[in-house]
Amino acid sequence: MLETDVLIIGGGPAGMCAAIEAAKLGVKTTVVEDKDRLGGQLVKQTHQFFGSEKHHAGVRGIDIGVKLAGECSDLKVNALTNTTCTGIFDDGSVGCLRGEEFFLIHPKRIVIATGAYENMLPFPDCDLPGVYGAGGLQTLMNVDGVLPGKTYLMVGAGNIGLIVSYQLMQAGAEVVAIVEALDRVGGYEVHAAKVKRMGVPIFLRHTVTHVSGDGKVERATISKIDGSFKPVPGSEFTVSVDAVCLAVGLSPLIELIAQAGCETRYIPECAGHVAVHDSNMRTSLEHIFVAGDASGIEEASAAMVEGRIAGLHAALDVTHGKADSNELLREFDSQLDELRTGPFGQKARQGKSKLWGLKLPPDEEFEEAPPIIPESGKKPVIECPQNIPCNPCAVSCPTESITIGDNITNFPVLDQGTCNGCGNCVAACPGLAVFLVNRDYSDREAEITIPWELTPPPEKGDKGYALDRTGVAICPATVTKIRRVKKIDKKRLLVAFTVPLDKADEARHFVIVEPKGAEKIETLPPADDIIICRCEDVTQKEILDCFNSGYKSFDEIKRYLRTGMGPCQGKTCQRLILGILARELKTHVSELAPQTVRTPMKPTELEIYASSKEIEPWDFENWQPPGGGH
């Protein structure tokens, strides 16, 4: 049994920040992390983050992770990696599995920062090899260095779908299209613009209806959908792909929270069931706190601040408030408020308001920033039209020509007069939304400088084509210069190329070979049923049959069909089955009871339990019943 003051479960940005604040107060702090290193989702985020400097804006996710992990180790946080928490018990102890060992930690306070899991989308043959979740794919690509397919269909145009599409192209894959069920792109426009100008079409109000292939994905069929998300007959078409990537959202991972006995509630704005918690991040159980995506899906920036708040309160409980942290707490609160302003912060703002019983803040409409188009000279063009929480363009500018102001979701404003055309902002913008346009390059030509993160990069003198914002080749172009702004970003290149003067406001990407769009191929009929529970191989039909014979709750269906009884404990199917039940019962998921979660969170070998040192070894030769009973 390991004693600690504060135990943090999950070593992502929320968990690491909780550990940092707790350790700063001098209490004994332990982090358990399932993976082989701290970092959580950050480990696979090779792109630059948004946010403000306080939240490491402009830094690549992976580097933020390394930095926070370093702080943890400086503060002597006991970080147990490769360790999974498999249960929280009523006597306050926490069961952990590490390699071949099952042991207990006895903390005074617990912060649960287990993050999120990916939603799956059920469709015929969705269990064919070649259908990936975006997170899993990112891990393969960015952590393990494996690219499991060459041509992809991306499902979902939220930030994750857009970012992963871009990363796939960075890794040399082709993304034939992005489909999105809603009538708008859910992610930031700057992320969408980035892939669109590379020639990836985004089909709004479309979805993947089925995939087919011989033992693996070979083609995907796409269809238009109507207002109630039903495919429009006759609108389907099929493309040849060898992988489909699902980026259809994340759900808070609350299995430990539920197993521990914390009260939970379904809050759609938090993207699922979450622990009921107050603004100090304390759950309904006094000794348990929650932070990060596990408390409602947001961004790493919010996860970090929530982690700090939870860690600090947990440590204050242990020191019985012997530290004046009021100032710090006020600062964290105001950071969260700031992150949750603007239309993109709306969901989080509303979700937390529901949890805290506050009046719901009004919906905020998206404003469109007017484009800034300089008339002459070598000046930046900022194509950043939404109120996103971001400011590296302003921070990186040596002449303070770009300003954002106090509110981080304001639009960037450029003062053309003071700008010297250095291009720092092009190198710094995580949205790749800033370009330099030099209309005075020559009489007939303009020079466009774009940020470049693809391999292989072009070389000076290369001749090719300029693409417009939708990825269409509009004119020939010649590369004039390639450079880096090392002090801003060591990796990113700035590529300058020339185009005819009249194309200066259209040319936004450069390619050597003219792109050809994806070809439509023959559509094959879909399989007639859909797998919902992959562990136990249970289909939609079986679930509906079960429902129609009177079993109308998750726990009942689980008992009859074994859904959710497999190793994943319902991580994939619970959401889908609750969805089916809600539809059939004509009610809302929030009205339905989620499944009962039981230890262990990770299947554990009998021998590992048997050899645990938490109970003195037994002598079966001279058997005495433990404790004298029985």
């Binding site: 249960g87 006597d91 709750s553 039981r598 070998e605 009998l606 021998e607």
Partner: protein, 383 residues
């Protein structure tokens, strides 16, 4: 929900379901309403090991179990529902002379009741259950006609046939109280309305004492947590249910390949708590690895718990309550109510429709035994 019924059954576990089926389908009493606070088999029934055996130490239990097993055998023919009945036998190892003696005594009693149990040598055990380490066993009691069934499917089959015959089954409906007149219970109050009735069956399992309290009765039943675990599925490799009375553990391989195993908590106290503790998987795994070493690398995927409803002699209470003769209990099954449920249902149906029981003697189950000192010996074969 109906406002009146001849019989109201409280609880849709195996006991309530059996009673509903026996009343409506077998005894022609269709004016029955069932009330269940959660859903079918939500209580102990849906959490249990599903084992059924005739190897008991008291004549009463032996007889009940025997009749029930033949009912499970014919389950599909009778109800049209496959209940995954599997005649894999039960094996109770003996580790010392005292246990050998104990088993011989029981086998004699069981054989008198025509149960084909017999004492087997360690070599025979190796044949019956190759995964067991028999090195230290002196033999064991074995009955090839013991077995198991799937409790959900059993409850489903009974309830569906009962509903076809006219029984109204109300799930998500909780009994909250009663109305009485003299020594008669006249109404059952529920979260969804009141039902006027002639007769009530208390089949509320672990919560049957709570139901009794609503009538001011102090029923001699105590809920007790029992934990149980299941491993990942593997290819079928083990037939019998093993009950080891020395090491306090039972285990079997379920139809879909998982091993299911549980024990009685050390120092268990009566309570409604059905959460798990960390000691259970460690203790149970040690015993399983010792008994059946080839299972060592199997992974535990889930642990859960349910309530045993214990009586002072570990035998059930079936029949009317002296204070309220139209209030029948079918409670206190002390960890073996699933296997007894078919005959329990018959006893209840006979009591209600005929006023007397022919299926088997029921004095042993009379609640008055605890007050007037006629309670027999405690059932010794419980894990």
């Amino acid at each position: 929900m109906r406002k009146t019924a001849k019989v109201v059954i409280i609880g849709a576990g195996c006991t309530g379901a059996a009673a509903a089926y026996q009343l409506a389908v077998k005894h022609g009493e269709k004016d029955v309403v069932m009330v269940e606070k959660d859903f079918l088999a939500a209580g102990a029934t849906g959490r249990c090991g599903g084992g059924m055996r005739q190897q008991w130490s008291t004549r009463g239990n032996i007889r009940l179990a025997q009749r029930s097993i033949s009912a499970f055998k014919n389950f599909q023919d009778e109800t049209g529902q496959d209940c995954e009945f599997w005649e894999g036998g039960y094996l109770l190892p003996a580790w010392n002379e005292e246990m050998v003696e104990h088993h011989h005594t029981n086998i004699k009693l069981q054989n008198e009741e025509n149960v084909p149990s017999r004492f087997v040598t360690p070599e025979e055990i190796k044949d019956i259950a190759p995964i067991l380490d028999t090195t230290r066993m002196l033999g064991g009691a074995y009955c090839p006609t013991d077995g198991k069934a799937n409790p959900f499917l059993v409850v489903k089959g009974w309830c569906e046939r009962a509903a076809d015959a006219g029984v109204e089954i109300n799930v998500r409906t909780e009994v909250t109280g009663f109305k009485t007149s003299g020594d008669k219970v006249t109404h059952v109050e529920t979260s969804r309305g009141t039902i006027e009735c002639e007769c009530v069956i208390n089949a509320a399992g672990g919560h049957s004492g709570v139901i009794g309290k609503m009538l001011g009765l102090d029923l001699p039943v105590a809920p007790e947590r029992h934990q149980i675990l299941v491993t990942e599925p593997v290819k079928h490799c083990h037939d019998p249910m093993v009950i080891d009375l020395r090491h306090n553990i039972y285990f079997s391989q379920a139809n879909h390949g998982s091993f299911i195993s549980g024990h009685t908590d050390y120092g268990v106290q009566s309570s409604f708590n059905i959460r798990n503790n960390w000691q259970f998987p460690i203790q149970l795994s040690r015993k399983l690895c010792y008994l059946a070493p080839p299972l060592k690398r199997l992974k535990v995927v889930r642990i859960w718990a349910g309530l045993y409803t214990m009586t002072p002699d570990a035998q059930p209470i079936i029949g009317p309550t002296p204070e309220y003769p139209n209030f029948l209990n079918a409670i206190g099954f002390s960890g073996h109510g699933f296997m007894l449920s078919p005959v329990t249902g018959t006893i209840l149906a006979e009591l209600i429709t005929q006023g007397k029981v022919t299926v088997c003697p029921i004095q042993e189950f009379d609640i008055r035994r605890f007050k007037d000192g006629t309670a027999g010996t405690r059932e010794a074969n419980v894990v």
